[in-house]
């Protein structure tokens, strides 16, 4: 009967076969038309932004568009001595044009990234060049530039200009890995500040701790829920879900009220004479971990619950009746059966916590910061979107790599969300 059966197909005449195929195609097209909105949505909300993010990390045309002539003149320059006057004249002209179109700040910001302090040099020089005629700049611009600021005599600022002028750059990726290129173009450890690797490590470590605490709290809870009478289980389920329906900000702020120096926890402990001095809990790694464990707990409980619900209770009884002690019955029978829910929950919690922003920002203080907070810093304060994009891309790669490892050793087909 079915079209998949070759014997049945053979019985169809050629014409019937073509008709059937056409009908099948029509149905497929219809199905596709139904998912077109979803595909479009996915493209615009997911694929395109991530694509731009990945691209922004290597593509930086700003400087090349702002001072094309200067960069062309700098092409032959070796980078060991100061460039000759022809280059300086071109730069003088470029700066004048930028000052007139009020774009000198853009250039200044980009160059400043490679050599802190260059920003004011470029902006003040551009303001001076604005008053000169093109003629004068073309002939004597070099002298005017040197007079405008003595930092133009430093070879570093020229190296910074040349470096910033590269349209396609690995600079952001190097920075994100705490590396940089020295004057000879070799890769070396970054001299100014080394934070990103440390932050990635810390983020992964904290995500692990949070996942583990969610597991520790969530597993027994899910077990209890799955085996309790349905009336109690429903009530408990609502209690699990209730925080899920409250605003994230409210839940985080509630932790602030609980953990602060004279907050609920400290006052209670002091009243019970357990401690004499309030303990510093807020604005630490501890507070980030505890608040995030609370917030992410439902993501662990729900998949575990639905998997445990499906396990036949007679399995444990059978194991015990065959002589297994409760613990070994649990380890060799129950635990493997819950593995799909367990890995789904752990993966969910881990991946969500790696990219978490709000909670560490509010309760994290100094040592509870994660990589997302530094990405926000570069988005909002330093306006270094290229570096922010790179840090985000690396985070994405990191998670994909972890997922691949997981898939390789445990198998992603095991995951069961419900």
């Amino acid at each position: 009967m079915s079209t998949g059966n070759p014997a049945a197909v053979e019985k169809l005449s050629r014409r019937e076969y073509v008709l059937a195929q056409r009908e099948l195609r029509r149905k497929k097209m219809f199905a596709l038309a139904l998912v077109v909105p979803l595909l479009l949505f996915l493209f615009f909300a997911f694929v395109a932004p991530i694509g731009t993010m990945l691209y922004r990390g290597v593509y930086n045309p700003v400087v090349a568009e702002l001072i094309p002539d200067t960069l062309q003149a700098l092409e032959q320059w070796e980078g060991q001595t100061l460039p000759d006057d022809a280059v300086l004249n071109r730069l003088a002209l470029d700066l004048k044009r930028l000052a007139q179109t009020r774009k000198s700040g853009k250039l200044a910001e980009e160059i400043n990234r490679h050599w802190p302090g260059a920003s004011s040099v470029i902006k003040s020089t551009a303001r001076r060049m604005k008053r000169q005629t093109d003629e004068a700049l073309l002939n004597g611009g070099a002298d005017m530039i040197r007079v405008a600021n003595k930092k133009w005599q430093r070879v570093e600022i020229w190296r910074a200009i040349k470096k910033a002028g590269q349209v396609y750059t690995d600079g952001y990726y190097l920075t994100a890995l705490d590396l940089e290129r020295n004057a000879d173009g070799d890769i070396q450890q970054r001299e100014s500040a080394q934070i990103y690797i440390k932050l990635y490590q810390k983020t992964l470590w904290m995500a692990l701790v949070i996942t583990f605490s969610c597991l520790l709290l969530g597993y027994p809870l899910a077990y209890y829920l799955a085996n309790a009478p349905s009336k109690t289980a429903n009530l408990m389920m609502i209690l699990v879900l209730l925080p899920f329906w409250t605003s994230l900000l409210v839940r985080t702020t509630a932790w602030i009220a609980l953990l602060q120096t004279n907050g609920v926890v400290n006052s209670t402990l002091m009243a019970l004479k357990i401690i004499n001095q309030p303990i510093e809990m807020l604005y630490t790694e501890f507070s980030t971990i505890i608040a995030m464990t609370h917030i992410l707990l439902p993501f662990m409980v729900l998949p575990l619950f639905s998997v445990m619900k499906g396990i036949d209770p007679s399995l444990m009884r059978a194991a015990q009746s065959m002589g297994a002690k409760p613990i070994s019955a649990f380890i060799s029978v129950y635990l493997p059966n819950t593995l799909p829910g367990l890995s789904a929950g752990a993966l969910l919690v881990f991946i969500i916590s790696v990219g978490y922003y709000i909670t560490p920002a509010l309760v994290g203080g100094t040592d509870g910061q994660m990589i997302s907070n530094i990405i926000a810093f570069h988005m909002q304060q330093s306006n270094n979107w290229g570096l922010a994009a790179t840090l985000g891309s690396l985070l994405l790669v990191l998670i994909l790599a972890l997922y691949w490892i997981y898939d390789h050793f445990i198998g992603a087909s095991n995951i069961k969300l419900g």
Partner: protein
Amino acid sequence: MTLKHLSTAAALSVLFASQTFAAEMTVVSFGGAYGAAQKKHMLDPYTAETGTKLLFEDYSGGIAEIKAQVEAGNIQWDVVDIEVIDLERACSEGLLEVIDPATFPKGADGAAPLDDFIPSAVANECGVGNIVWTIIYAYNEETVGDNKPLSINDFFDTAKIPGKRAMRKRPQVNLEWALIADGVARDQVYEVLSTDEGQAQAFAKLDTIKGDIVWFDSWSQVPQLLNDGGATLGQSANGRIFSAIKEDNKPFQMVWDAHIYDLDVWSIVKGSKNKDLAMDFIKFATGTKPLSGMPDVAYGPTRKSSMALVDPAVVPDLPTSHLDEGLKADGIFWADYGESLGEKFNEWLLK
């Protein structure tokens, strides 16, 4: 035919829409007590006088949102209250319209606008000063103990004044204070801070109190930290402490030594559809009378003529009365070193 109808309808609706919204504009500032004072003395009187509806929104400073709007060509904000520390950058990146303060109204005493405004209020071509505010540190009289802090040195002296210090989690102000407390003269702070040795010196000084610092991200956290004992000393915008003292009767005291003052200006986002209206609003808002309302929250007015209208009882609490004890925040320095010191600061935090 249908297409034509449709496009006519679309054109008409655009026309109607722009007509309905012609007298409407978005003004963005920092909210809190400060925003309330601006609403009372600047926005509401302007609406009453001209009938222009103003949408008043809050933001937390920085230029990221303005940059995003200008780069996307989708301008949502018209008038923005910007800290001078960000103004320099926003202006030279072409994110703001040029404003000529010479065309502004005269002061109430007849002084020409350029004479009436304090010089730093009209120093940048992209904005006109609105308030002088400052960052001081404050303490809670009830928790500080017998030794009262008097100077910035005491802020770094944990032996004399034990307890937690609340500081905003960023390099700005903290590094300046560290250098001043370490003996650098106030007028040389930024020069020293632009050298590697100077930066190392500042971080080394911060190291001496690192274990006693409580970091915060928003000014609103400080009065609360001082109040509930989370911190003994707290860095704060002076207006927040002032309103905690006056409105909530908190036992707080301000220490003015080495306070770091700055201006807020009104500016117009580049490409604003309501540019003329925005200019008109700024002219109104920086008039003698509206500015004289800013001392409600202990921020100094930027016109000299406004001082005549200010309640004399408030004057000692205004930053403008303490300029000789303070240091002007250097916007140009922070445009140069904001990002590199931001990274170093984060590195130092992680150590």
